[in-house]
């Protein structure tokens, strides 16, 4: 296809694409994001292709492999249009029925719909599902409508019209001003005002400038950027083009981590298509503006998400942060003014240009505008991606969208902001989620990870887990980060393994102060958060570990013992058979005993002991009673014995 040479040509092409795809034409959209692919979406798509042919609908129904709409918990997700019928957890074996019932007979298959856990009420349309209903999906809402490998899908939804608008009708200053006015702040974690950042790079002296997409998403459990990269890569490219025009850059990079193969593939395809259509290259849309993009694959170091480390890594040097100032806006890639924004920040840009700063600013709080995507994971019913306006409460995210904690367990905390974020307890669940409120609560927005923890989670162990991650990911250049995190990890490990001592909490606080205030980059400066926020909100757990060697959540194995109450044991053999370390002795009619030396504390005996006996007990912070002497290990059966006797004689 010949490259487009004007905004008018783009609009004509868009109308042509729209008229080709008649809205009444049946369409099957299957999420082909990483989550759904893992649960078998590729086989579902293949099944639709064959089944549509077998049932004679070839050419009438379009099957689309789309981006991720967010409800990963119930994947693979299928949406059928017209009508937006949403089927969840679809297996290839369901496909023949969907084709015959829904596509041919236009009837809905109840069993594949969303059903509320308590009311059993079913939702037919995607937008009626409570998980989606309580969101504001400005960015990821389009994912299910787009085949990310097909630029026409993006164009049909008005794609690249913001670029056309900017190139034909706006000056660079006006673009920067509009972004500034919108109140957009960096979505990668820093929360720095995007307009201010752009303005600095625009005003920095120099002919050559660069723009970079930071797609080095590395927080454990976070996959927001991944979903946008995989699901709607053109929206990021369009944002990047607009930013490049605004600051005066003619070259850009997308820094994607190598561990995201699908994102790399889709971004690569998107770049080739954008080049073919004339959105990248020389004299874009006849405006005289030139811009080219290259993809750089990151080798997987968490610290390379820090912008100065990312720049050095792009240059082929070790990815270690350097001191700022000078900021990348004046001295960035190859020493030139450089503007780096996160994936989600770039994806917001076309929306702001198209709909205006005021539209964008209507969402959110005074200090944090727009929506934010969170990856909601952990002990939560609805795992997935959630896009909400800034300012909703954590309680709404956890309960209204996430549908609460599974398994009848109690909520304990939500960990936000990635590994260097913090834990927020029940009493702060009503805070409005934005950059400032989360920081005030001792956590942070970060890039949008949200890990829900229930009563079985030990908060000291949570701190230890994240500090361990940070220790491994510290580059080791500066000593407060390298040594401070290492020492905090050593102390936390001691506490969780029963070797904690008085003064440990104070030493942790002292180490946290030094690491937090003297480290070179944000990794070290925020590394104390997991420690400080858990000390602040869950100090009693620390004290119980240190003073009484008790783990209140029965999670730290070294502080927990399992014991079989001889009064309650019915010698049913169940725990004995299931024991993973052959630590339980006993026989029919012989009370079971756990050999504490052999026990690996896996907890299986506790889980399998029938509730009518509840003979296995967990102990923490107390001595395990001596086992019953051999002579007394005979079970006296009453009813059960009589019953068993009857059976034998009968």
């Amino acid at each position: 296809m010949p490259a487009l040479t004007s905004a008018a040509e783009l609009e004509r092409l868009r109308q042509e694409i729209v008229s080709r795809n008649h809205p009444d034409r049946p369409r099957v959209s299957v999420c082909a994001g990483a989550g759904c692919l893992a649960t078998g979406a590729a086989r579902v798509i293949a099944a639709f292709d064959t089944e549509i042919e077998t049932q004679g609908l070839k050419g009438e129904v379009q099957v689309k492999a789309t981006g991720c709409p967010g409800f990963c918990e119930r994947g693979p997700i299928v949406v059928i249009d017209p009508g937006q019928t949403c089927y969840l957890q679809v297996a290839p074996k369901d496909v023949p029925t969907i084709v015959s019932k829904t596509l041919k007979e236009k009837t809905v298959i109840d069993r594949l719909l969303y059903a509320d856990a308590t009311t059993k009420e079913r939702a037919v349309r995607e937008s009626d599902i409570p998980f989606y209903k309580n969101q504001e999906r400005n960015i990821i809402g389009n994912n299910i409508k787009i085949d990310p490998q097909c630029i026409d899908d993006y164009l049909a939804l008005g794609g690249y019209s913001a670029l056309a608008k900017v190139l034909s009708r706006m000056t660079a200053e006006q673009v920067v001003e509009e972004i500034g006015k919108s109140g957009l702040r960096g979505r990668g974690g820093g929360g720095f005002p995007t307009g201010v950042k752009w303005d600095a790079a625009r005003n920095a002296p120099g002919e050559t400038k660069y723009v970079i997409v930071n797609a080095d998403e590395g927080d454990p459990g976070a996959f927001m950027d991944r979903a946008v990269l995989e699901g709607n890569p053109h929206s990021i490219l369009e944002g990047l083009l607009i930013g490049a025009y605004a600051i005066g850059a003619r070259e850009g990079y997308v820094y994607v981590r190598q561990e995201y193969p699908l994102a790399l593939k889709n971004v690569g395809i998107a770049i080739r298509q954008a080049e073919e259509y004339g959105f990248l290259g020389s004299n874009i849309l006849g405006s005289g503006f030139d811009f080219r993009v290259q993809v750089h694959r990151g080798a997987g170091a968490f610290v390379c998400g820090e912008e100065t480390a990312l720049i050095l890594s792009l240059e082929g040097r070790p990815g270690e942060p350097r001191s700022r100032p000078p900021y990348p806006a004046t001295r960035g890639l190859w020493g030139k003014p450089t503007n780096i924004n996160n994936v989600e920040t770039w994806a917001n840009v076309p929306l702001i240009i198209n709909r205006g700063a005021d539209w964008f600013a209507q969402f959110g709080t005074a200090g944090s505008k727009g929506t934010k995507i969170f990856s909601l994971v952990g002990k939560i019913r609805n795992t997935g991606l959630v896009e909400v306006p800034m300012g909703v409460t954590l309680r709404d995210i956890v309960y209204k969208i996430g549908d609460g904690i599974p398994g009848g367990k109690k909520f304990k905390a939500v960990q936000t902001g990635g590994p260097a974020g913090g834990c927020i307890p029940e009493e702060h669940l009503d805070i409005a989620v934005d950059f400032d409120a989360l920081t005030k609560a001792g956590a942070m927005m970060g890039s949008g990870g949200m890990i829900v923890l229930d009563e079985d989670t030990c908060m000291v162990d949570v701190a230890r887990y994240f500090v361990n991650f940070l220790a491994q990911e510290s580059c080791g250049k500066c000593s407060p980060c390298r040594e401070g995190i290492k020492q905090m990890h050593r102390i936390l490990t001691n506490i969780t393994e029963g070797r904690g001592k008085e003064g440990d909490i104070e030493l942790l606080e002292e180490l946290a102060m030094t690491t937090g205030s003297a480290s070179l980059c944000a990794l070290g400066r925020s590394a104390p958060n997991p420690v400080l926020s858990t000390i602040r909100h869950f100090r009693a757990e620390y004290e119980a570990h240190i003073r009484e060697k008790r783990c209140l959540s029965y999670s730290c194995k070294d502080l927990v013992s399992y014991y079989i109450d001889p009064q309650a044991c019915a010698a049913c053999l169940l725990c004995m058979k299931r024991c993973t370390s052959e630590a339980i002795s006993g026989a029919r009619d012989r009370i079971h005993v756990i050999d504490q030396q052999k026990c690996n504390k896996c907890g299986t005996c506790f889980d399998v002991c029938p509730s009518k006996f509840d003979a296995v007990v967990r102990l923490t912070g107390e001595r395990v009673p001596e086992p019953v002497p051999d002579a007394l290990r005979v079970v006296v059966r009453k009813k059960a014995a009589a019953h068993a006797g009857q059976k034998e004689t009968g």
Partner: protein, 199 residues
């Protein structure tokens, strides 16, 4: 080069554009401790012992004097309770690796650091990177480098380059604030076959 003036520890200090706070302070005879700094090398900002307080626009921030640019009208404090606490703890952490290092013992005296506060791990190297950077920046040989990251970070000679370059040079040896470098070199030498090393 434009001249500018700033205040360090209550004194007016003259500096030139492009200078770091450390250079400005030392130029005026005000001492700030460093372990990873060397005049011939680019500022590194690794040891963080040179943390000072900078007051600007009513806010006090902690910055590394070796990398922070001297700016007009800055108000700088090189000692405070917090700065001393940071330097004490950083020294204690480094002493775990090289308890006998004279540089560290002097710091320990000044900041009342306890050399036994953290469990000893006598690798002798405190990862200041003077050898690595001197070899790269001044000698442009890259015979010694950092390997791995975080708590596993080490310095290591590259045997092939070291065998050819280091015998005649050894200029990095006196830079080392501990005895780690010599040890690492001897180790490399013993690993390399004697034919390759001897000339």
């Amino acid at each position: 080069m434009t001249d500018l003036s700033l205040r360090i520890d209550g004194r007016d200090v003259a500096a030139t554009q492009g200078m770091s706070l450390l250079e400005a302070a030392r130029g005026a005879g005000i001492s700030i401790p460093t372990v990873c700094h060397h005049e011939k090398l680019e500022p590194f900002g690794g040891c963080r012992l040179c943390m000072v307080e900078v007051e600007a626009a009513g806010r006090t921030t902690l910055v590394a004097a070796c990398t922070y640019p001297a700016g007009k009208g800055l108000v700088v404090k090189t000692r405070s309770e917090q700065i001393d606490r940071i330097r004490k703890l950083l020294t204690e952490q480094l002493l775990a690796y090289a308890p006998e290092s004279e540089v560290l013992q002097n710091l320990a005296r000044e900041y009342r650091a306890d050399k036994d506060r953290f469990p000893k791990e006598p690798s002798f190297c405190i990862l200041c990177g003077l050898c690595v950077r001197y070899c790269a920046e001044v000698k442009q040989r890259n015979a010694v480098g950092f390997i791995d990251r975080g708590p596993s970070r080490e310095i290591s000679f590259v045997p092939e380059i070291a065998a050819a370059e280091c015998w005649e040079c050894k200029e990095c040896f006196p830079l080392c604030p501990t005895s780690a470098l010599q040890a690492a070199f001897v180790l490399t030498r013993s690993r390399t076959s004697s034919e390759e090393v001897s000339k």
